[in-house]
């Protein structure tokens, strides 16, 4: 009897199972972040907050809130006085004299002095620090020589503290973009005593002493970095946000979800495949802005098939339909590129490829002719390999371009992808035919783009391009103090470049952010800088 009834009364009742379930699914409470705290997405975890060792955008965004250089950026990215109240330039364009604010203070209350800047700038070129961005300070006399070990004494760098609040900087040659470069983290001051006391650990929360609008209060790697307002900052009265938390969120889809559920006020990026959705559903929060960068294909000029083949290079460049590529493939509002230097660069009118004005049909006809002249035909097509670093976006673009080349000219393309570090190795050894690459300007001046293709920059020059006429114009521009004349020289150089086409410009980058309506004071700008001190939160 027992046995029979037991079958209908199982040992594990449904109730037991429900209890098990609720053990796992514990209670849910809700709480929300403090009111006057800004939550910012930060892309990746910063590699370091040490201004002389960092290189990435994720670090720069945080450093910009922590530190202030001689010159700073306004909400719209334009240059404004930072620690330096004003400055004068000598007649030969080589000696800057900066007058520092007397009320500029470190986050521990000590004054920011010219000696701090001397200490920091010397550290910035010190080869022992091993900085990848030391070149930012190379316009200063002896800067390059010290980094490269040709001059051993750090005190021979052309910087001098005339008194506690006067800094004299001597340049190697007139450098019109030097003031702009001073906004780079590499030119920020550091607090000498903190470095002496804490060594490599000086950037930790609790150790770090900074001179910007904010100070570092918490750093949990890969989780968040919390800054709170620096009460000693000279303009602290105008800082309206009490705290800002940076969240490294590499996965852009996750970042979008965190924004949608109000965990983030500002995103670092928008996933490319979600841009259409965002444009439709979050139009008011979506900020899509031209950026100082160019996406391009480099052609290897050091070997066949592109060495000495001007016509062939032009044929390939003309048959890429940039409007279709940006409109149908990348879809991020990118600007089709017919130039190397992106639009929006200070004091620079720019040049374009000579055939920009031709219609698509005319371009095609010209390209076909050039292709035939280079000795290729449908029966004897050019066979070429495109190398790109592994990424869906690069792959889609490469597929589209190879399709365009195939259709227009019959070119047979092989796509070849490599993981980033392998790609860098192959690129450095110039073992490619066509290489996808991108370049983001380090400062707002045409030089940051044009110098990449000088003949003497070694493996940095992606194509192995060397044109003595181009190099001569660039050398002349470097020495020219008249800004108009200088811009004209660089423009002439870019025209030569766009005729030679060692690189094929494809599009100019855009940056994408989502900004919550409660954030006020956000201004889109080509440098993509948005210091927290100019933002505020609606109540």
């Amino acid at each position: 009897m027992l046995e029979e009834s037991a079958r209908h009364r199982p040992g594990i009742s449904t109730r037991t199972l429900l209890i098990l379930l609720s053990v796992v699914l514990l209670g849910v409470s809700s709480a929300h972040a403090a009111k006057n705290t800004l939550q910012r997405g930060n892309g990746a975890e910063p590699e370091t907050l040490d201004v002389h060792k960092s290189s990435g955008v994720p670090a720069a965004g945080i450093q910009r809130d922590l530190f202030e250089g001689l010159v700073a950026e306004a909400a719209d990215g334009s240059l404004i006085p930072g620690v330096a109240e004003n400055w004068t330039l000598s007649d030969d364009g080589k000696v800057y004299t900066f007058r520092l604010r007397k009320n500029a203070k470190w986050s521990n209350g000590e004054p920011v002095t010219a000696h701090d800047f001397v200490f920091a700038l010397r550290r910035g070129v010190d080869p022992a620090v091993g900085s990848g961005y030391a070149f930012i300070l190379w316009p200063i006399a002896n800067g390059e020589e010290i980094t490269k070990g040709k001059v051993k004494e750090l005190n021979r760098l052309g910087v001098e503290a005339v008194d506690a609040h006067t800094l004299k900087v001597t340049l190697k040659a007139p450098t019109p973009y030097f003031i702009g470069m001073l906004t780079h983290p590499h030119a920020y001051p550091v607090h000498p005593k903190t470095l002496e006391r804490h060594g490599d650990k000086w950037t930790r929360a609790g150790n770090l002493v900074s001179n910007g609008a904010y100070r570092l209060t918490e750093w949990v790697p890969q989780s968040h970095i919390r800054l709170e307002r620096n009460p000693h900052y000279w303009a602290a009265d105008n800082v309206r946000i009490d705290a800002v938390v940076f969240h490294p969120t590499e996965n852009t889809s996750t970042e979008l979800k965190r924004f949608r559920s109000n965990e983030l006020d500002i995103t670092y990026d928008v996933p490319p495949d979600q841009i259409a959705w965002v444009e439709k559903n979050l139009a008011a929060q979506f900020h899509n802005t031209a950026y100082l960068g160019t996406y391009y294909y480099a052609l290897n000029l050091t070997k066949a098939p592109f060495r000495d083949r001007l016509g062939l290079r032009n044929a390939l460049a003309m048959t890429i339909d940039r409007e279709i590529l940006t409109g149908k493939v990348t879809k991020g509002g990118e600007i089709p590129a017919y130039a190397w230097v992106p639009p929006g660069v200070n004091r620079y009118a720019g040049a374009t490829v000579p055939w920009k004005g031709l219609s698509k049909a005319e371009r095609l006809a010209r390209a076909k002719k050039l292709y035939a002249e280079a000795g290729y035909s449908r029966d004897n097509p050019l066979k070429v390999q495109i190398l790109y670093n592994t990424s869906d976006n690069h792959k889609r673009i490469a597929i589209a371009i190879s399709g365009m080349w195939k259709k227009a000219l019959g070119v047979e393309t092989e796509l070849f992808n490599q993981e980033w570090k392998v790609y860098l190795t192959t690129r450095k050894a110039r073992q490619f035919e066509v290489l996808r690459a991108g370049w983001i300007g380090d400062y707002n001046d045409a030089n940051t783009f044009l110098e990449l293709l000088k003949g003497d920059v070694g493996t940095m020059n992606p194509a192995g391009y060397a044109n003595s006429e181009y190099d001569a114009l660039m050398r002349k521009a470097e020495k020219e103090t008249d800004l108009e004349v200088r811009a004209g020289l660089m423009q002439k150089a870019e025209e030569i470049l766009l005729k030679d086409l060692p690189i094929i410009p494809i599009y100019h980058y855009t940056t994408q952010h989502l900004v919550s309506p409660r954030v006020q004071g956000w201004v889109d700008n080509v440098m993509d800088v948005h210091p927290t001190r100019f933002l505020s939160l609606a109540p």
Binding site: L26, V28, T48, P127, K421
Partner: protein
């Protein structure tokens, strides 16, 4: 047992040696960037990080550091040592992993046993159908769906980060990590439960007049657990690798992301640190599984 413990050391050494030399085979180095640094600077960096020494010497140096519990500096995250990064990330991964494991075993065995007793009923089919789905759908699909529905649409739980470390931040990642394992363990325990319930000693138990509760919990379940226990080894490995994906999707500051990112960045010391940590963990868990076997099945003990 001591013999098993002793064999763990050479196993770990072999793992370390293979990982150390394998990652050096990959082209590119930790300091390679798009912006090429002057050779003088890269020489300096290599000297500071001892990358200019011959590989065997670096290996010996690394082992020496390990013996002192020092994993070396991170090449990528230059403000931290690998030991610090692991000390920050490992407890997070461990917490999520253990919770997911506990949830998987509790729910999996519970559901499996529950379904076994309702063999061929609608409830059984429902549970097994769901389990099949759970196994078939990978967690990189489940996780974003969960965070979209529960986090964004219903706004019940946070979709990313650890916040204050509260339970509400852990729920979604733990559930996403546990789901495939729940499904697998449910199927496994249902099968073995069915087998055991038909065994002679269960019939004897019932004949003796034991309550059904006692039969199921005391006799059947204990024996049915053996295959589940032996699955715990692979399950741990699955949860460790699964956490790489889950930590990315939920922006969790765990160890998982260092596994992939470290390798891509050629952050040699960080990759090694993660390999050593996970290697030790898996070896230890396998030992624990062996011990548990002995507790559950006396025959295993006598054979040793």
């Amino acid at each position: 047992m001591i013999r098993r413990l002793a064999s763990a050391v050479p196993t770990l050494f072999i793992i370390i040696a293979i990982a150390f030399f394998m990652i050096r085979l990959a082209p590119g180095g930790p300091f390679d960037r798009e912006r090429v640094v002057p050779p003088e600077i890269s020489a300096n960096l290599n000297r500071v990080y001892h990358l200019d020494e011959p590989l065997p010497k670096q290996f010996v140096r690394y082992l020496g550091g390990l013996a002192r519990g020092d994993f070396g500096p991170s090449f990528k995250y230059r403000d931290f040592t690998v030991t610090e990064l692991i000390a920050a990330g490992f407890p997070v991964s461990l917490k999520i992993g253990l919770l997911a494991m506990a949830a998987a075993v509790l729910l999996g065995v519970g559901l499996g046993a529950w379904a076994a007793q309702r063999r061929n009923s609608a409830a059984d089919h429902l549970v097994m159908g769901l389990a099949m789905t759970g196994i078939a759908v990978p967690n990189f699909v489940v996780a974003p769906l969960l965070s979209l529905v529960i986090g964004v649409y219903l706004n019940l739980l946070p979709v990313g980060g650890l916040g204050d470390g509260g339970v509400r931040y852990l729920l979604l990642p733990v559930i996403s990590l546990a789901l495939p394992q729940v499904a697998y363990i449910a199927r496994l325990s249902r099968g073995s439960m069915l087998e055991v319930l038909n065994a002679d000693f269960i019939r004897t138990g019932r004949a003796k007049g034991l309550t059904e509760r006692r039969v199921v919990f005391r006799h059947a379940l204990k024996n049915a657990l053996t295959p589940v226990v032996s699955y715990l080894g692979p399950a741990t490995a699955a949860i460790v690798t699964g956490s790489v994906v889950i930590e990315q999707i939920f922006a969790i500051p765990g160890l998982g992301r260092y596994f992939v990112q470290g390798a891509l960045n050629r952050d040699y010391t960080l990759v090694m640190g993660v390999v050593v940590t996970y290697g030790t963990l898996i070896i230890m868990l396998n030992l624990a599984v062996d011990l548990l076997y002995g507790v559950l099945d006396p025959r295993v003990r006598s054979r040793e």
